[in-house]
Amino acid sequence: MSHFRAKIQDLGGFINPRVVRDHTKRKVFAQFEPDRQALRYVIHNTSLPQRVRAQAQLQLASMHAYTRSTQVKNRCVAGGVPRSVIRAFRLGRFQFRMQALAGELPGVRKASW
């Protein structure tokens, strides 16, 4: 959501609107994670009164979607592609291939066996 987006972006690599959105979601999640964990603790603690736990459940459900970790998607750092991203390099498959062939990824080479 636009009210979460930073006015001045701090991204350094490839930037497109979807990367900006995902980056915003990540930062929002990091900011609100303690709150979410606190509410989850209250919900999971069976020794607390049922009313309090239900209240906490409602509040957790009413928190903004951007504060959820499931909203975060791993995207290619060099091209913003969301699919087939290799976690070890944070690159999409084609970017990975180009960089590997160019020798920019240490230790990666063409395999044949």
Binding site: G12, D22, H23, R26, N45
Partner: protein, 108 residues
């Protein structure tokens, strides 16, 4: 040989006190597993590379101390813009109002 249950409970209590654990013999669900979890936020937020120092920053610091810098790409770009303007291929003027943009479309 078997020790009484109360003795074992005492032992567990002392153990929990020493190692600062939660003493919970009835095995109630106290949500402690959520307190034990680590925060994933910092790791997730560090996925994309952040801005670093750029050539422009270097230029700025240089100009502040009275040094002149030379950016070949920037000069090339400005020259190309000048050439394009002379050929009449420059950027069209920004339309400030809705009326202006409408009249520009109609002319076509």
């Amino acid at each position: 040989m078997a020790a009484p249950y109360s003795r074992l409970l005492d032992l567990a209590k002392v153990q929990c006190r020493i190692f600062s654990l939660n003493f919970n013999p009835e095995r109630l669900r106290l949500g402690n597993k959520i307190l034990r979890q680590r925060l994933r936020g910092p790791a997730l937020a560090a996925w994309y590379p952040r801005k670093t120092v750029s050539f422009r920053d270097l230029q700025e610091t240089c100009s502040r101390s009275g040094l002149t810098t030379f950016d070949e790409y920037e000069d090339d770009r400005e020259e190309a813009i000048q050439v394009a303007k002379l050929r009449g291929k420059g950027r069209p003027k920004k339309k400030r109002t809705a009326a202006e943009s409408r009249s520009a479309k109609k002319k076509k």
